[in-house]
């Protein structure tokens, strides 16, 4: 590797720089069909240093396991999606490996693939969840009005800074694995099972993680199995690095969401009941199906109070590549639907959307989202800030006038502003059964150096500075005396998955608590002093609103009269995420997320690899460029300064799409319930 682990930069090398003597490059032989049985695989005659590896060569468990679902490491007998790995070719020359892959023929007896998930057979059900709270049927019967709507959210690519991959090599008696993962211990345990060795014989060192948007939870484990298998069989270092095209087509995406909702309101427009039927397309394999469904049910009413809830949710298996989480475990999809419902209810009750939200916000003790909330939805100050910076009320009124009084009702009003609320629970990782409690170990040595050990890897090296400063200020020492040990599964405790902003919301708190522990022992016990802190696992789930981060977004747009595309004029967001550890870092990451969330709405329409697909998705999937990003304004609530630091990673991905859809609905005078936009369909609509 070009960059080795150092104290200053704890282990964030790039996979692209991995190099070792005798390195073999690994390429993946993929299924040409989406569904069927494998009749034969014929590879070309390979030179001596090259090797073709199939499922037969796996010495241990042939499956990767997570949350009750199994994923074949290499397909054997049957294939379930186009591009599924059926074999590996490893050799010293990358070009010859790619040529050999092109010459390899995989003969499949094809069967009709299944891509639909809105209507499905019972055999396609991967997981199901049901929620009944209050008497929904009675509330529907008593309702003043019942509103119906269907919501669709398409797949999204995470667009990582580096395409996914894995490298492995033997270091004396241990196999070292390098991969960009949120969950190093899952990688270690999966590879150990696949190779039939003890986990202690493996060491996982994560490479640069970057903004992962919760997409690197389990797929890196699969790639690590592939690379390690080659190292094991050939006895040489192996590098498997997916091309950007492969990363686009075959790694996990956001699971497409379909929800058919019915909402009941009383005469004053208050939400009385919510009934939802939700299906998610998890593709061929869905190891995260159950946690995603649980999260969707939890987030169903959003930050609002609703006395009666009824929901059935299914995770559906199709013949697309595996789908999973995207900036949270699916709660963003449910909250998007609820925000749209909020707008519909406000319109039906002839109320301002903000007034409706304020009147229906979950109060203290509310049980709509589960256990009684210790604190309600904290939007009062946040809302005032948002309305102030966006000038929402004046613009909304003006655009409503344009909408209602336009001379030609056949034309679109052309202008709109939308607002949405969002919350992000700060203990999302608890929904993953497979992850244990998050642990952090802090030790103060004889040399006065404080060492922090955790397997939760932040997105970049800069985030480590926050931990360093937090620990230094708690113990009143110089930040330069704080050392954060590079993540390596043989030296740090298992801290579970680095997901759902746990780096800030959980690990920071644990570091602070551990430092408090050291402070109390500091002059009573001899050095070195070590304190280990873990999250407590409780059977009773708290309300997701407790300790949550809250955010609100407003989006203003105009419709381009020439092509009908929305031209976003500005985005405003206010956030209450507890104590902000670094204002500049928080602003940067939120602005980045807001830009990305907008891009998700307008231009990141992703068409997964289907049977007839032959093109490169890189040309049709066009994230917004710098010049297309509108002005973004942010405010942080001072009210949160006394609270623990909360996560920010999901807020923009919930609030911005919902506010965008609301603005577009006003500008088009037609409810918009589907994202990302389909430009072709919109063109037709305008004509």
């Amino acid at each position: 590797m070009k960059r080795e682990h150092t104290d200053q930069d704890p282990g964030m090398p790039r996979l692209a720089d991995f190099h070792k003597p005798d390195l073999v490059y690994v390429g993946t032989v993929r299924s040409p069909a989406a569904r069927g049985s494998i009749k034969s695989i014929s590879s070309p005659h390979l030179p001596r240093d090259y090797r073709f590896i199939t499922a037969e060569d796996i010495p241990g468990d042939h499956f990767l396991r997570l949350e009750g679902e199994t994923v074949p490491i290499l397909a054997k007998g049957r294939v379930s999606y186009k591009g599924e790995a059926v074999g590996l070719i490893a050799g010293p020359d990358r070009r010859r490996v790619l040529e050999a892959i092109k010459l390899t023929r995989v003969d499949i007896a094809p069967e009709t693939p299944e891509y639909g998930y809105e209507r499905f057979e019972s055999s396609q059900v991967l997981a199901r969840e049901k929620l009944e709270r209050g008497d929904c049927r009675a509330a529907m019967e008593k309702a003043h009005k019942i509103l119906k709507a269907e919501f669709r959210l398409g797949p999204l690519d995470h667009y990582y800074p580096e395409p996914q991959g894995a490298a492995s090599y033997y270091d004396y008696d241990k196999l070292v694995i390098i991969t960009s993962t949120q969950w190093p211990f899952h990688v270690r345990d999966s590879v150990a099972k696949a190779l039939g060795v003890k986990p202690e014989e493996l060491v996982v060192k994560p490479s640069y993680l970057g903004p992962h948007l919760d997409g690197k939870l389990w797929y890196p484990s699969l790639l690590a199995c592939h690379a390690s298998l080659c190292s094991r069989i050939l006895g040489r270092p192996a590098l498997l690095s997916l091309s950007r095209n492969e990363d686009f087509l075959y790694t996990t995406k956001r699971a497409p969401f379909f929800g058919a909702y019915r909402a009941a309101i009383d005469e004053e427009g208050r939400l009385q009941a919510l009934e939802a039927s939700i299906s998610l397309n998890l593709g061929a394999y869905g190891p995260l199906a159950q946690p995603i469904l649980r999260k969707i049910l939890e987030a169903l009413p959003g930050p609002y109070t609703c006395p009666a809830l009824s929901c059935k949710a299914w995770a559906v298996r199709t013949n697309l590549s595996p789908m999973g989480s995207y900036a949270g475990l699916g709660g963003s999809s449910a909250q998007f639907a609820m925000e749209r419902i909020a707008d519909l209810c406000a319109a039906e009750a002839d109320q301002d959307p903000v007034a409706w939200r304020t009147a229906n916000a979950a109060p203290r003790g509310d049980t709509s989202a589960g256990s009684p909330a210790k604190q309600g939805a904290r939007f009062t100050e946040l809302n005032e800030l948002l309305l102030g910076i966006s000038d929402y009320k004046r613009k909304r009124s003006a655009y409503e006038l344009i909408r209602k009084r336009r001379p030609d009702p056949e034309s679109v009003p052309g202008f709109g502003i939308g607002l949405a609320w969002a919350y992000q629970s700060n203990d999302g990782a608890r929904l993953l059964n497979a992850t244990g409690p998050t642990s952090v170990e802090v030790s103060l040595g004889k040399d006065s150096v404080l060492t922090i050990r955790s397997s939760v890897l932040p997105m970049d090296a800069g985030a480590l500075e926050l931990w360093r400063r937090e620990a230094a200020s708690t113990l009143d020492i110089e930040p330069s005396l704080v050392r954060i040990l590079p993540v390596s599964t043989d030296t740090v405790p298992d801290s579970g998955a680095a997901a759902f902003s746990s780096g800030i919301s959980v690990v920071t708190r644990l570091i602070s608590e551990a430092c408090d522990g050291i402070r109390s022992k500091r002059f009573r016990e001899a050095l070195p002093i070590s304190v280990r802190k873990s999250t407590r696992s409780t059977k009773r789930l708290a309300s997701p609103l407790d300790g949550a981060s809250f955010g609100g977004a407003a989006v203003e747009l105009a419709i381009d009269p020439l092509d009908g595309s929305p031209l976003v004029r500005g985005i405003w967001m206010s956030v209450n995420a507890g104590r902000i550890l670094s204002r500049s870092r928080a602003e940067h990451s939120l602005k980045r997320d807001i830009a990305r969330a907008l891009s998700n709405c307008v231009s990141e329409r992703f068409y997964p690899a289907q049977e007839d697909y032959t093109g490169s998705p890189l040309f049709s999937y066009a994230p917004l460029r710098i010049q297309d990003i509108p002005p973004i304004e942010l405010r942080f609530c001072e009210a949160g300064a006394e609270m623990s630091p909360g996560g920010l990673g999901e807020l923009a991905f919930i609030a911005v799409p919902a506010a965008f859809a609301s603005a577009l609905s006003q500008a088009m005078d037609e409810a918009q319930h589907e994202l990302p936009l389909d430009k072709r369909a919109r063109g037709e609509m305008l004509r």
């Binding site: 070009k2 960059r3 964030m12 790039r14 692209a16 720089d17 667009y159 990582y160 800074p161 580096e162 395409p163 640069y208 970057g210 903004p211 091309s243 950007r244 095209n245 970049d460 090296a461 800069g462 500049s584 870092r585 602003e587 940067h588 990451s589 602005k591 980045r592 830009a595 990305r596 490169s616 890189l618 040309f619 994230p623 460029r625 710098i626 010049q627 297309d628 990003i629 002005p631 973004i632």
Partner: protein, 161 residues
């Protein structure tokens, strides 16, 4: 074919297929790891190099195109005054770019500084838009460009005031 060109100020000669991509040539033969061959189709801009002083995506430049030309990669650019100015502007904007786009954005800023482009010119957003990485906020990148170019403008126009 033999391809002679100037790479980071040094005369070099290499045997390569005419259509071999410049990005592969730089990474594999010259071990210039700042050049990242990500998308391979000229969309992400992470393989940006200066060819005859102009920014190009090395993944869509065939090897024969650099015959007799001058190529500067980030490794060579690091020794220039423009690099220092670009680095200072990035720091001032509070940007901590990832290892994949840092070289490309720095060189783009350096190019804009060297050519005296005004911040208001379309070329600024256009050039920065030709690089795509999800690690940083677009507004912060524009802020960095503003800092970098304001300094240049100050120097140029201050004399006239």
């Amino acid at each position: 074919m033999t391809i002679d060109f100037i790479l980071n100020g040094e005369d070099v000669s290499v045997q390569a297929e005419p259509m071999e991509r410049l990005v592969d040539l730089l990474r594999e033969r010259f071990k210039l790891h700042s050049v990242i061959g990500d998308c391979g189709v000229g969309l992400c801009g992470k393989c940006l190099v200066l060819l005859e002083g102009k920014p190009v995506n090395a993944c869509i430049v065939p090897a024969f195109r650099v015959r007799g030309a001058e190529v500067v990669s980030y490794e060579g650019f690091c020794n220039t005054e423009e690099h220092d100015k670009a680095r200072q502007a990035l720091e001032k904007a509070g940007l901590d770019l990832c290892a994949f786009c840092k070289g490309a954005y720095s060189m783009a800023l350096g190019y804009l500084i060297e050519h005296g482009v005004r911040f208001e010119d379309e070329a600024v957003a256009e050039l920065l838009s030709s690089i795509h990485c999800s690690c940083s906020a677009p507004s912060a990148l524009l802020e960095a460009a503003r800092f970098a170019l304001a300094e240049k403008e100050g120097g140029r126009y201050a004399r006239g005031r």
